[in-house]
């Protein structure tokens, strides 16, 4: 089912949860709503489900205005963050619930319900748990049952609120892949909310990045990562280094000069904000040109095959964070305190000032 969201606004008291959001979701896509807490992503999901009403704006399903449709009539499947399984019902009855509460005229026969529930339990690979109760299941199992329950009523739209948020890292990773495969098999238009950029990038066809009730960017995971529309998007999608200064002839004057390797499209005058990801640095014992930054290695930490380095650069408070492969770091034959030179391979430049974002940071 295709979805058209038209300038939807929602306030909770004085808090502006959605400040005019418009978005198109084509039929059959798996879309991630990504943003920090308070960005309005869950509110948008709940408005799609009909669990909240927008203050203004419209929701169209297949081109038909569904803004005032009751939750029941929307044919959406909703998977809650904490699963919301019915505690007093067995797993089988949980999944059967949506079929059992149908109006008499359209309620299927018991034998059909039986078959359908068993099929769904097989689909989520938990058909041996039918007579257990929710509190006897692990988190990952509960999540899969919640999904089976939502699928029982053959929804045209599947909505998932932080589906993996409460799971431990390993189960989360497994379920992500499983959800992607399931979506590919069933082809139901699906929208899921997450604050984990890795999850959004890995699972979805398209990512919608929200911040303070507004959409910052919509695009495929590659698009948003390679060409972020705003400093917020760049910062939110991963650890980065920010250099500020004035741009002159594609060179950012900031303590030492940083050459902008790509066409920035910015005026020569005025401030510029340049970002370099940690893995986008060359590190060398000697500078063989103008555009190298002199830096002193302050900390190093090996994580698997990667070495995380933290450099001190003169005239800069924040450390410069660099990632190198272990082999390449070993080849440098240096330790903490060494004087080295850094050169960005790839720089993303913005004319707009970044807003403060909670970004994942290394604990070093």
């Amino acid at each position: 089912m295709s979805i058209h969201i038209d300038n939807v606004r929602k306030n909770f008291g004085t808090f502006e949860a959605l400040a005019g959001v418009s978005l198109d979701i084509p039929s059959g896509e798996l879309v991630a709503l990504l943003g920090p807490s308070g960005s309005g992503k869950t509110t948008l999901l709940r408005i799609l489900a009909g669990l909240e009403a927008p203050d203004s704006g419209r929701i169209l399903f297949e081109g038909r205005d569904a803004t005032n449709d009751h939750v029941r009539e929307r044919q959406v499947g909703f998977v809650f963050q904490h699963y919301a399984l019915f505690r007093h019902l067995t797993i089988f009855e949980n999944v059967a619930y949506g079929l059992r509460v149908k109006p008499k005229a359209s309620r299927p026969a018991d034998s059909y319900i039986n078959d359908r529930v068993n099929d769904l339990l097989k689909l989520v690979q938990l058909d041996w748990l039918g007579d257990r109760y929710p509190n006897q299941l692990s988190g990952g199992q509960r999540q899969r049952i919640a999904l089976a329950r939502a699928l029982a009523v053959e929804p045209k739209l599947l909505l998932l609120d932080e589906p993996f948020g409460a799971l431990d890292a390993k189960v989360r990773l497994e379920l992500r892949h499983w959800l992607r495969r399931l979506h590919d098999d069933l082809g139901i238009t699906s929208v899921f909310v997450t604050h984990d950029q890795e999850e959004a990038m890995e699972v979805s066809d398209r990512v919608v990045i929200l911040n303070q009730g507004r959409i910052e960017q919509v695009g495929t995971p590659e698009e948003v990562y390679d060409a972020p529309a705003s400093p917020f998007v760049h910062e939110f999608l991963g650890l980065t280094n920010l250099f500020t200064g004035n741009l002159r002839q594609e060179v950012l004057a900031a303590g030492r000069n940083i050459k902008i390797t790509e066409e920035s499209g910015l005026d020569d005058k005025g401030g510029a904000y340049a970002y370099v990801r940690p893995y986008d640095f060359e590190v060398s014992p000697q500078a063989d040109g103008e555009d190298w930054l002199a830096a002193e290695l302050a900390l190093s930490q090996t994580v698997g095959n990667i070495v995380r380095l933290s450099f001190r650069v003169a005239g800069r408070e924040e450390p410069v964070r660099v990632e190198l492969e272990k082999e390449r770091f070993r080849a440098l034959r240096v330790g903490v305190g060494a004087k080295l030179f850094l050169k960005p391979r790839h720089v993303q430049v913005f004319s707009k000032a970044p807003v403060a974002v909670e970004t994942p940071a290394w604990e070093i």
Binding site: V71, R72, F78, F80, L85, V101, D168
Partner: protein
């Protein structure tokens, strides 16, 4: 929450720790337990004192009730119990409970539902209002109805003109009982429902259930223990209510006497055996209430624990 961080009581490490602790306590050098706890004689004294006062204040009077009730033997007891006036008091008490308890169940569930599941202006005011009958004297609760339905009351004339007796009749007794037992069910359900939140109801609605189905299939089963607990407390109070009912009843023997009022009348007439025999009925009900309450408390606890477990126990 990772299981490795919070070891369960059954985990080997916990069992080992327990064994160690016992070992320490049993060895002469292990003064750990004594150092933390009170000396034995203090503990015995405190427990003894508590038991003494419980016996003095609770058990002796209870025993006295039954002793007095059977002072003239079983036949005297039976005579008092089986007198028509006693039976009419029993009947009236049952009628008052039979109306007040269901009414307060419906009201309590509705009030707890809207307080726990919705946010609206004046919510705190409503909660305070529900508590009102707890905080005012039962005599005042009774007088309120005299003021409303008495001959000089606001609505008194209207009902008297239409030949409907409210005051000094069954309706006023029922009304007073409802008023006094108003908070029990709601008070009991609000915390349970607040802890449960609205996710399961929302899940039910997204699955196509209507409000009625959601209530019967999801909400009610989830609060059944809390509800039963509230009903038991409400019923106990409804049966035992004296003050408010006394003000509005008019004490007409065989007509407007509930059990507690009947006890008072018999006592005032120096019919001690009769008074205590009827009182023993009430005491008997109280003991049953206590037992049922104890059983239900376990259910309520598990109801709340399950909610916590289902919210936290992700792994």
């Amino acid at each position: 929450m990772s299981p490795s961080v919070f070891s369960t009581p059954d985990s080997p490490s916990a069992a080992a720790a327990r064994a160690r602790a016992e070992e320490v306590a049993n060895t002469p050098s292990g003064r750990l337990r004594q150092a933390v706890g009170e000396p034995t004689w203090v503990r015995r004294l405190l427990i003894g004192l508590a038991l003494f006062f419980i016996a003095l204040i609770l058990l002796v009077p209870l025993a006295a009730v039954f002793h007095q009730a059977f002072a003239k033997g079983f036949s005297g007891y039976w005579e008092a119990i089986s007198s028509p006036d006693t039976w009419s008091a029993v009947k009236l008490t049952l009628i008052a409970c039979g109306i007040a308890v269901p009414f307060n169940v419906v009201f309590g569930v509705a009030a707890a539902w809207c307080i726990a599941k919705f946010d609206f202006k004046g919510k705190n005011f409503l909660i305070t209002l529900i508590d009102l009958p707890f905080s005012i004297s039962p005599v005042i609760s009774g007088l309120v109805f005299v003021l409303l339905f008495g001959a000089q009351g606001w609505f008194g004339e209207f009902f008297i003109d239409h030949g409907i007796r409210i005051l000094f009749a069954v309706p006023a007794i029922v009304l007073a009982t409802i008023f006094v037992t108003f908070p029990f069910v709601a008070r009991e359900l609000i915390p349970v429902m607040q802890a449960q939140g609205t996710e399961e109801e929302e899940a039910s609605i997204t699955l196509g259930a209507n409000g009625w189905q959601t209530f019967w299939r999801i909400t009610l089963p989830n609060i059944k223990w809390g509800l039963l607990y509230g009903v038991v407390l409400c019923n106990a109070r409804a049966m035992g209510e004296f003050g408010a009912v006394s003000v509005v009843s008019g004490h007409i023997r065989g007509e407007t006497n509930t059990l507690p009022l009947h006890v008072e009348i018999l006592y005032n007439e120096y019919d001690f055996t009769g008074a205590f025999a009827v009182a023993s009925l009430l005491a008997f009900l109280a003991v049953i209430t206590l037992i049922v309450k104890k059983v239900l408390e376990r259910g309520v606890r598990s109801e709340i624990q399950e909610i916590r477990a289902s919210k936290e126990g992700a792994v």
